[in-house]
């Protein structure tokens, strides 16, 4: 699971009012190379919830992202784009779990695939 995915997912358990962001429990993190496409990064930038993104990157051991005052003008900097690209698409949670911030329910991540399916009594 890439951090782009993490930034999009939330816990949708019945009764949970704010299931985002999910806390990451990392057991195995790998890096997988992805070709950089600056147009894609520029498009997706405005869709990212920045604070949870920075936190998630830190949890997985990457702390080179600016924490505050991120303006779209940063996208003109190649250095920023490279870091953004790396954090967003190349860090990959292979084994671990995503934890619902309200209920503590764990969504397991095995072989890089988050299992977001709810149990019968959570629907």
């Amino acid at each position: 699971m890439r951090l782009l995915t993490h930034n999009m997912l939330s816990s949708t358990i019945k009764g949970v009012s704010n299931g985002f962001p999910l806390t990451i429990e990392a057991a195995k993190v790998v890096e997988k190379q992805v070709d950089m496409n600056s147009d894609f990064l520029k498009n997706i930038f405005s869709k990212i919830e920045w604070k949870p993104f920075v936190e998630a990157a830190k949890t997985l051991g990457f702390s080179e992202l600016p924490e505050e005052d991120v303006q779209p003008s940063l996208l003109d900097s190649h250095e920023f784009l490279t870091k953004f690209h790396h954090a967003l698409l190349e860090i990959h949670l292979e084994e671990g779990a995503l934890v619902c911030p309200e209920t503590g329910r764990k969504f397991p991540v095995n072989k890089g695939i988050p299992n977001m399916l709810l149990l019968e009594d959570e629907v």
């Binding site: 782009l4 995915t5 999009m8 070709d35 919830e49 019968e120």
Partner: protein, 480 residues
């Protein structure tokens, strides 16, 4: 400028929409306002049937025409026609009258060339081909012939008149064309990606040709994000990734997305096999209860999928036992069994599935983004023209039918997002979602395609009559 667009004679309903989608992708429409009110102009040669492979299409530039032809799956070639006529004399006259400055640059001594002969519904012997080539002696070719790798390909197309034959549409009058090739499709893609040599496939894996057509309808390209909510073995995303798009997929069946058939035989390995960028994300999720965070919208450039409509594979959604038994309280999973518990699922009716898909797409697609999906249509009885799902955020831009059996066909629908997802639309979708939940069995019966497709023949009905009824007036080609 008008070009002759020659198609491969298959998947007839898919041919023009593919060219139109690619025209959009390569910028044939200058003032791009969300794919709205754009259309490509088409023209038929005199007296030709619309299903024949020869069409004229108006494309703003040669570069765009070349790009369209190269990327397409069903375009055999785009030609700049130098002349046409009903006899060789007329052809010669027309070619001589064609502006010199459009011809001479391709006839110089530095250029190598090849003349190809094409027809439709007939073949030429070598002797006949030689005769035909001699008739072109009036064109002042200065360059050398190169049959393997010429700088310029020319096409000499002769179509004889013939009556309707074996379902082929009739051609009323003999017609001859001569033109220069601007671009042609790369059909080598298809053997490379054919399913029989793919490592991991499932019973409903999409065949390579159709998957590429779907990716073209979805305008898959580098820098774009394509999502498939029913990813299965990833056959649709493989095509999108081939065109450089980043991909994401979800499926409710974890065995398919996570495990596959071993470490080197799963969805990831299908991408590795072709040296493609693997999906950015694969996850297990239910299309009925998508796991996206509340504020998230307009992230995908295209949603391309083949929803499970219950004929070859039935859809499933969360909430099984409760819905099936009509119990008021849900089944509560005991605490000691929560880990590793496999939640039961319930059948997912086509109506609800399509409703969820449109709602998801309306919310998650960028403006101008495309939803491309298959929709089943029953061909039984004297049913009127089918109606397709509608949504206030979408405009339907292409409808392509592929007949699968006597009883049903599938239709590839391409919808473009033209309006933003508002609070009111979200609210009415929520109400509908609850209605589906409350009246689960009723909806399930209404959308039961499986029994309609596989029901036995009605008693007393003549089987021969059934066959004759099948041959609908519109000819659609023998390939399905």
């Amino acid at each position: 400028m008008w070009y002759m667009c020659v198609f491969f004679h298959r998947l007839l309903d898919y041919r023009k929409p593919e060219v139109e989608a690619l025209a959009q992708l390569f910028g044939a429409f200058a003032d791009d306002n969300n794919g709205d009110s754009h259309s490509v102009q088409w023209k038929l040669p005199d007296n030709f049937h619309p299903d024949n492979p020869f069409h004229f299409v108006n494309i703003p530039s040669e570069d765009i025409a070349r790009d369209i032809a190269k990327r397409s799956i069903l375009v055999k070639g785009m030609y700049e026609i130098w002349g046409e006529g009903t006899s060789y004399e007329q052809l010669e006259e027309a070619v001589n009258a064609y502006p010199e400055e459009r011809k001479l640059p391709y006839l110089t001594s530095e250029n190598t060339f090849k003349i190809n002969i094409d027809s439709f519904g007939k073949t030429f012997t070598t002797q006949e081909q030689k005769e035909l080539l001699k008739r072109l002696a009036f064109i002042p070719f200065k360059g050398r012939v190169n049959l393997r790798n010429p700088d310029h390909n020319f096409w000499f197309i002769e179509i004889d008149k013939y009556e309707a034959n074996n379902g082929l549409p009739p051609i009323v009058e003999k017609r001859i064309f001569f033109g220069r090739e601007v671009g042609a499709a790369d059909r080598k893609l298809l053997p490379t990606y054919q399913l029989k040599s793919r490592v991991y496939i499932g019973p409903t894996a999409m065949d390579a040709e159709m998957a590429f057509l779907m990716a073209n309808q979805g305008l898959a390209a580098p820098g774009k994000l394509v999502y498939d909510p029913f990813v299965g073995t990833g056959s649709v995303l493989v095509a999108a990734a081939h065109f450089g798009a980043l991909t994401m997929g979800a499926d409710i069946d974890i065995r398919v997305v996570r495990d596959g058939r071993g470490p080197d035989r799963n969805v990831w390995s299908n991408f590795k096999q072709y040296g493609l960028q693997e999906p950015i994300s694969l996850l297990r999720a239910d299309n009925n209860l998508p796991p996206w965070r509340a504020g998230l919208k307009e992230v995908f450039d295209a949603i391309i999928c083949d929803p499970p409509y219950g004929v070859r594979a039935g859809g499933r959604k969360s909430g099984g036992r409760k819905l099936l038994k009509g119990v008021v309280g849900p089944y509560t999973v005991p605490d000691d069994k929560r880990e590793g518990h496999i939640p039961s699922t319930a059948a997912y009716s086509l109506v609800e599935c399509v409703h969820d898909l449109l709602d998801l797409a309306a919310k998650m697609l960028v403006m101008g983004g495309r939803l491309v999906y298959f929709y089943p249509v029953l061909r039984e009885e004297d049913s009127p023209d089918p109606t397709f799902p509608e949504h206030p955020c979408f405009k339907l831009v292409a409808v392509s039918e592929q007949i699968l059996s006597f009883r049903y066909s599938r239709v590839l629908l391409t919808m473009v997002k033209v309006a933003t997802y508002t609070e009111e639309i979200a609210e009415s979708a929520r109400v509908m979602h609850l209605d589906f939940k409350a009246n689960h069995l009723k909806w399930l019966e209404e959308g039961n395609l499986h029994s309609a497709v596989f029901a036995p023949n009605k008693e007393g009905e003549n089987v021969d009559l059934r066959f004759s009824k099948d041959s609908k007036p519109k000819y659609r080609g023998k390939y399905v």
